[in-house]
Symmetry: D2
Subunit: 281 residues, 4 copies
């Protein structure tokens, strides 16, 4: 028997960079969190402690800040690709660079009816995400959205499901449907304008969610993914993760009250897990 080191990766996570661009009368800010990960010729670092191939994670952090200085950070996809090319180009011992990025949302403060040119407030919970994987021979760019809390109050039911001896759930034609959406999508090679593509994917996801006659979370998840693939040409594949954040009808019968889908208890646990991947063929 021998022991094989079958896979390794290392890097720096939670590198949080804020870039401020000052124009004459207005400013822009970008808040991006970066994780860098390398795979490659690191066997002897593990087996005998030879660090000569190991570019420190501290240097990776420095690199994120230094490269952010001269890059516009227009999109996290472009910045991630820039970082990946830098690391792969300078380090022949690295076979694969993976850059994970997320961007928090800031909107301009509404100051007496106008967006303020230099003051901001956090705009929503959701993050924009991207993952870049680069090797000598391949480039993979994924974009995504994480933690987008959405809820609809109509056109959602769940009935005629499989029952067994432990089933107590009743059919419903009318419930609250709430989820914390995480989406990740791949592109065909023709994608370049990542900002416009993101906007298009997000508006299609939201519009499908809002308007679909939902027979189950699965049913709506599929409609949302299909609509993106049908509509946003350079998207080749999409993963959707839509946990069912239950708003449960409160039983008011003991108090001689009827609850016609008016009063719900909001719960975090347990929650339904619903995931699906759709792709073009």
């Amino acid at each position: 028997m021998s022991i094989q080191l079958s896979r390794t990766s290392y890097g720096k996570s939670a590198v949080r960079v804020m870039k401020l661009v000052k124009h004459a009368d207005w400013h822009e800010i970008k808040e991006v969190e970066v994780c860098t990960l390398f795979e490659g010729e690191f066997e002897e670092a593990h087996t005998i402690g030879d660090n000569s191939n190991v570019l420190p994670t501290d240097t990776q952090k420095n690199t994120v800040f230094a490269l952010a200085k001269d890059h516009p950070l227009n999109t996290i996809e472009d910045f991630g690709l820039h970082l990946a090319k830098h690391f792969l180009g300078q380090n022949p011992q690295i076979h694969k660079v993976r850059i994970e990025l997320s961007q928090k949302q800031w909107t301009r403060i509404n100051d007496q009816g106008s967006p303020h040119p230099k003051a901001y407030q956090r705009g929503g919970n959701e993050k924009w995400t991207a993952v870049i994987e680069l090797t000598k021979d391949s480039t993979r760019i994924q974009s995504g959205i994480a933690d987008l809390l959405i809820l609809k109050t109509t056109d959602s039911g769940f009935s005629n499901f499989k029952r067994d001896a432990l089933t107590t759930l009743k059919d419903t034609e009318d419930r609250i449907f709430a989820t914390s959406l995480t989406a990740v999508w791949d592109y065909t090679s023709s994608a370049t304008d990542f900002a416009a593509l993101r906007e298009s994917v997000q508006s299609n996801l939201l519009s499908s969610f809002a308007n679909h006659k939902s027979l189950s979370v699965q049913h709506t998840l599929y409609d949302m993914g299909k609509r993106v693939l049908d509509t946003v040409e350079p998207v080749s594949k999409i993963d959707l993760d839509m946990p069912n954040k239950h708003n449960l009808l409160v039983n008011l019968a003991p108090f001689d009250m009827t609850n016609e889908n008016e009063i719900f208890v909001v719960t975090d646990e347990p929650f339904g897990v619903i995931k699906g991947t759709m792709e073009k063929r």
Copy 2:
């Protein structure tokens, strides 16, 4: 020596209620979290385990849901007052009821340019808060905002501060000023339209923050509080808690780069604590 039970309180926390109101063509939702707390004649519950004065916390939870059914939940202040009056009115053994409430923000999904009548997304991190304290002889209503992340990129400095042997900080005339604002305010007895008052307080806080020539966090905190007291007549007192969420300038000099307030590292720890209370006299 004797042992005295000098203060007690009990209640139910994290009661999360969602109220859905269905109009013909559009819906409304309110997501409110409630904590109920009682003080009163509970000494023997502690000393000898006599529970005859103890209305269960489970009943308090039931009450929140049952009373939400018939109350419009137009504002958390009004709903909290309604709850407090119910508990105090039915329970002579209770001397003081405290109701703490917070409301999460939902905005309508933008569906191809129009707000959707029945679908929503989480709108910002911040929560609206209220605290009601009711006794036989007194009513106190406080409103507030919690976790409102705001940031400005100009008109913020900190200089000419006190120095000692352990001071290494340098004067700055230009820095990022970011905070997670928590505000709590009291009213004079004339307050009734809590929704309009809240909107007025929040817009004054944001406008002051955005436009103030800040010589320190303290300096801006005072301007924000003063502006609310000057402008929003029924507000008698305001507490502001404005932790300094440091965005630290990254030293790029080792890489022969200058960083003219362009690249910052976003940090959570440690953070500055800045608190102040202002009131009318």
Copy 3:
């Protein structure tokens, strides 16, 4: 009408210091988190941006690290007092210093039956806490424990409570009693050996919790506090916060099973709030 700045405080929070002491054959570590807060002559810092009285929060952070170098950090109470005296002694503009400290638990790794002299693992969730408040004329030292999760499986009931029209809870003589204990206690002026006092308080709290015939959370809270005051002479007052972390009996009747207090669902929300303060008179 005039506007008065009725209260202010400022300082630095989440200063996390690790002190390592190397003895010949074994090491000691102390992980302490510190928050420093000042009150005093800071009115003009707020009203006109005059920072000449403002010792920067950055300097406060530096001071924590510099003073930790020469202090043994034997107890957080002693270190907190040392910090408070330093700040008050050097800064006449400060009227009151408040130092909040918490210490995380590390235990030695069990290496084949023996505690390792130089390797550790986190030992439990709970934190040890202390608060020092120092003015020219007064010293207050409080010690505490936070987030100590404890649970008992017997001798816990809740019955004969007050009922109203919204009460659905049933009497129980046998339930799981779980809480996340937070305790804070004051000393008479004779206290000096804070390590031994802490150990005594904690063992009395745990022993009372484990063995008390509990008729309610309130009933046990009182027994725990009383036992500390009866037993640990220099403790003059104790606050206990014992949220009722509900382990709810699962209804297995629909599956033709009886659940004789065997299977529970663990819940975080909602939870009961039970607080009490006891003091010697």
Copy 4:
């Protein structure tokens, strides 16, 4: 172009069960959190909203509680396997069942020198984990540990690493090495006594960590994994995830103090990511 639903899964997460077993003079408790996930013939649930194959996630939750009633919950591996067989056996539409489990640690309260038979406190941060994957033709059992915080104060260096123009890190022969260990291991088919195997894996991981002369996190990670594979016969493969939780040396030079590895600042962000998989061949 057609759109294909290439992968789906669904289930229930965060099902938190507490099992209490009462012996004559002492009790046992097990706190286990379960996630159930199914893959199989669910295409039409997505494409046309046909739920006839969909066993509700609510039923999955019920099943966890009902099966916990008659199972000893001796190990999470055995309970997970029991659950997986139940679901796969009763549901021909399911092709693969995945059960994820984690168990929190409770230790008996030390009551005046003896472990209390019926009272407990949380024992450490770490969780025991298991993942079961079952199909008609295959069984995979993985065990693990998550969130085990460990730290060593000696025998840890990092030097002679690769440098580039953005490297500022200096060689060190003496640093604090702290990590939050997550380990997952696979078994050969001969494994049955999962409790004893877990104990053996954990003690080998800790002993290696404590005693290894570490030239890097990677170097120690490899030693830890190799030692498990060398020593614990039925373990065929192990993944280790050992984020470098930096304790950074504080620069006390500006205060004319030397810091000979005594005072560190504890940081959460950014952190190094170090992962590796080792297996027998």
